[in-house]
Structures are given as structure tokens and as C-alpha cells.
């Protein structure tokens, strides 16, 4: 009886040791996986009347930020927010893993685009930006989302920001260059002309949540070239679905 018992105890210890070894090995595997990840990323434009210009998606380290709320926009952010040009921001991202323009152009209202992103060691945060048209300097922004280490599908929404670099005059002038007044274009071809301008000043020069467009109900006159039943939005404006493989 005694030997039988001690035999059983020995066996249990052996199992425990094996289990310990296995779990350590498993832990090691998992921690290796967290360093480099394979992500599937889907971006959905939730709005009814706003187009997104080329999207920039980046996985980066903890020190990188594409934009900071409450601080002045970088010149690269301004290029993106006023004209949809992501090349400046992309150049800034030297050590990041990135996807440029997954939708191959504009992402129309309610449409989705999907892409894959392989991240490398240390690039544990996800950020995403794209200009909103027709706006003066509105953009969708995801800032420093911690990429989960656990495999699974994660879905969340993002809001509309104002870069604070241009007055929201709501006039479609073709002005997309940094510092040029006006909205570059209304891709839905449903905007007006002849607006006198909603405002000529931008007193909040910091990146902030966009207050939304005003628009008006006169397509040939009024203050705004935007249509108030078409070009407004409420937050959130985009849904991001990330699958960690």
C-alpha cells in the first residue's frame, strides 16, 4: 500500500513537471508571437455622404504618434487633412510597418476596404488616418491603439477630427495644398456653388474633435457649398475591425 502510494505520488510529480515544462514552452511561444503579428484590418466608412481619401495604416512603437489631440498639427498631418496627401506622414514612419492607400483611392460612403499588415518586433500600436471629403481639414483618426496579443477579432469605431489648420469655410475651391483655403472636391458630385463662406477664421489651431459641417439648403448661394441634408455626419464615422491571427 505504501509503495503503491509513493509510486502514485511520484507519477503525479512527473506529470506536474511535464506540465510545467509544457506551459513554460507555451508561454515562450506566446511571448515570441507578440513581437511580430499578422493582422487583417478592415475599415468601413460609416457615413452616408462623406468620402475618405487614401488611408494610411501604421503599426508603430510607443513613441510614434500620427497626431496628438490638443496639440498643433505637424505639417505632414496638415498635408493629409487638407489635401488627402499621406506621403509626408508615411515618410515620417521610418521604423513602422505600414499600409498606404488600401482602398486604391477613395473609400466611398458605407464602403469597406480590407488589408493585411505584418508587424515587426516592438511595433505594438496601431494608428490610422484619412481625410474626409468634402471638408476643409477633417480626418478620421485612430491614435495609438494597443494591438492585443491574444488572437481574435476586435471591432471598434473612430471619430472625426479637425486638424485645426484651416478655416472651415465650406467652399469648394479645389484648394488642397497646405495653407490654401477651401475644400479640394466633393467626390459625390452633390455639392453646390456660390457659397459666401461659413467662417474665415480657425481660432482653435489644435487638433480637436470636428464640430461637424453646417451646410445649407441652397446649392447656388448661401454660406456653404455643402448640402445640409447630405454632407453632415454624427460620430462615429468609421468602424475598424482587426483580426489578430
Amino acid at each position: 500500500m505504501n509503495t503503491l502510494l509513493s509510486h502514485a505520488v511520484k507519477k503525479t510529480t512527473k506529470i506536474k513537471n511535464t506540465a510545467l515544462f509544457l506551459s513554460t514552452a507555451l508561454l515562450f511561444c506566446t511571448s515570441t508571437l507578440t513581437l511580430a503579428q499578422e493582422l487583417d484590418i478592415k475599415v468601413t466608412n460609416l457615413t452616408q455622404g462623406i468620402h475618405f481619401t487614401p488611408i494610411l495604416i501604421a503599426a508603430h512603437d510607443g513613441d510614434t504618434q500620427l497626431f496628438k489631440s490638443g496639440e498643433m498639427a505637424s505639417s505632414q498631418l496638415q498635408m493629409m487633412a487638407e489635401g488627402g496627401d499621406i506621403s509626408g506622414l508615411s515618410t515620417m514612419l521610418t521604423s513602422a510597418d505600414k499600409v498606404e492607400n488600401p482602398a486604391m483611392g477613395l473609400l466611398a460612403p458605407t464602403m469597406s476596404t480590407s488589408t493585411m499588415l505584418s508587424t515587426t518586433d516592438g511595433n505594438m500600436y496601431l494608428s490610422l488616418v484619412a481625410m474626409m471629403l468634402p471638408t476643409n481639414d477633417g480626418f478620421i483618426g485612430l491614435n495609438r491603439w494597443k494591438i492585443p496579443t491574444e488572437a481574435g477579432t476586435y471591432s471598434f469605431t473612430v471619430n472625426a477630427y479637425d486638424a485645426g489648420t484651416e478655416a472651415n469655410d465650406e467652399m469648394i475651391t479645389g484648394g488642397g495644398a497646405p495653407g490654401a483655403a477651401g475644400i479640394p472636391a466633393a467626390p459625390g458630385m452633390n455639392a453646390g456653388t456660390g457659397g459666401t463662406g461659413v467662417t474665415m477664421t480657425e481660432s482653435n489651431a489644435y487638433v480637436h474633435i470636428h464640430r461637424g459641417s453646417l451646410g445649407d439648403d441652397n446649392l447656388t448661394a448661401g454660406k456653404s457649398d455643402l448640402d445640409n441634408t447630405v454632407h453632415r455626419w454624427l460620430n462615429p464615422v468609421a468602424r475598424i475591425t482587426v483580426t489578430v491571427n
Partner: protein, 243 residues
């Protein structure tokens, strides 16, 4: 490895025991009385609060289902959803083919008010347990705005557990947001506004709603006022599994 083998053996044994308890096996030497198929019931209690200032919600459609969605952003609205979003009539949504069990709201849910609605589903095969819960209701002082829950996973909810969330508002894309008196079925339209109309004169894709403009904010032809404006979220919802 040993422990895994032991576990396997245990699983196999319990499977055997379970199948032996099945009751309908005729080869069993010991005669067992015929047992009816076991019945399972899952019940959910849903508390809905209208968070808006002056948008009554139409009688809600609350449904349990195992597949599909009541709506998808970027796709056309079903005729059932169009009915709900344009006129507030929940009957077609409750009768959708994916619905295992559905329950309608008692009536209009006024701003600031809450309503508790229960929904249950009884089934014999454990694999048929309801996995998803959806809810839809119209903001009646609009052309075709609705809000709700789209295929919330409830299969991991234990009895007594709750999920609380808030909902955003959507546009069914089936009726232009003219805000004209004749097109608003809610009290703001004077009670004579049109509800459902099969014609689709908007984008014909479900999107998030851009909010109403109103006569006070620059849409001169609008029957709606500043009071009918809304922001997200529009509902607070608590889903509790009760059985």
C-alpha cells in the same frame, strides 16, 4: 501525456454514460420508460431607455436568432427593415426568416422613458440554442432613422449575467431626408405624415445617420425643429439572461 490520456479516457467514458442515459436505445437490456426529448429554454430580459430629447421610438422589434443580421452598413435595407425605418411598423422584422423568437414592444417609447421586454426561445437540440440578439426601433420624427442592436453575441451569457451598451442611429437609405411634413410619420409631422413607401429615393444603402437638420438650423422646408435634433447614442440597453 499521461494526464491527457486520462482525460481522453474520462471524456470517452462520460460520453458513453451520456449516450446510455439517452433513454431511447432499444438494445438496452434493462427496460427504461420512454423519455420525451429534453426541452431547453433560454430567456432574456432587455431594458431599453430612450436617451433622446424629443424622438419617440416606435414599438421595438426584439429578436433571437442564430444567423444573419437585421442590417449591414453598405448593403441595401431589407423590405422589413425599410418598413420599420420609414413607418415604425415592426411586424415584418419580427417575421423575418432568421428569427427564432421575437417580441414586440408595448408601444411608443417616449424620450426619457424605459421599457422592459422579455424574449424566450425553447428548443430540444442543444446546438439550436440562440446565439444572437437583435433589436430595432424607429426614431419616429425622422424620414427613415432607426437604432438598435445588430446581432449581439449572447451565447456566452450565463443566467443572471448582463451586457450593457448604448446604440448609435442608422439611416436605412430608403427615403431621402427631406424632413418635409408629409414624410414624417411621428407627431412632428402632425400625425398625417407618410410612413412606408416602396420607392427608394435615397442612397439605398444602410449608413450611420447624419442627424436631422431642422428648420432652426438651416433647412427652411423642414417641419422638424431644434428639439428633434439628436446625437449618438440614442438608446441605453441592458440585456440580462434570465433563464
Amino acid at each position: 501525456m499521461i494526464s491527457i490520456n486520462k482525460k481522453l479516457a474520462l471524456t470517452a467514458l462520460s460520453t458513453l454514460m451520456l449516450s446510455a442515459c439517452g433513454g431511447s436505445s432499444s438494445s438496452s437490456k434493462v427496460m427504461m420508460p420512454e423519455m420525451p426529448d429534453p426541452m431547453f429554454t433560454q430567456s432574456y430580459q432587455v431594458t431599453v431607455t430612450n436617451l433622446t430629447y424629443a424622438q419617440p421610438m416606435s414599438p421595438m422589434a426584439l429578436v433571437l436568432h442564430n444567423e444573419g443580421q437585421l442590417w449591414t452598413v453598405g448593403e441595401t435595407a431589407s423590405v422589413a427593415l425599410e418598413n420599420l425605418a420609414e413607418s415604425g411598423d415592426n411586424s415584418a422584422v419580427l417575421a423575418e426568416s432568421i428569427v427564432l423568437s421575437g417580441q414586440g414592444g408595448a408601444g411608443l417609447l417616449m424620450p426619457g422613458m424605459s421599457e422592459v421586454v422579455d424574449v424566450s426561445y425553447t428548443f430540444t437540440d442543444v446546438n439550436n440554442a440562440p446565439k444572437m440578439l437583435s433589436l430595432a426601433t424607429m426614431l419616429v420624427n425622422t424620414n427613415d432613422a432607426f437604432t438598435g442592436i445588430n446581432a449581439l453575441a449572447v451565447n456566452n451569457l450565463s443566467v443572471g449575467e448582463s451586457i450593457s451598451l448604448t446604440t448609435s442611429s442608422y439611416d436605412s437609405g430608403t427615403e431621402k431626408n427631406s424632413e418635409l411634413m408629409a414624410t414624417i410619420p411621428g407627431p412632428a409631422g402632425g400625425g398625417t405624415g407618410e410612413g412606408f413607401n416602396a420607392e427608394r429615393n435615397d442612397t439605398d444603402k444602410v449608413a450611420m445617420h447624419s442627424g436631422i437638420v431642422s428648420v432652426d438650423d438651416g433647412l427652411m422646408v423642414s417641419i422638424l425643429t431644434q428639439a428633434h435634433r439628436f446625437d449618438n447614442p440614442t438608446l441605453a440597453v441592458m440585456v440580462t439572461r434570465t433563464e
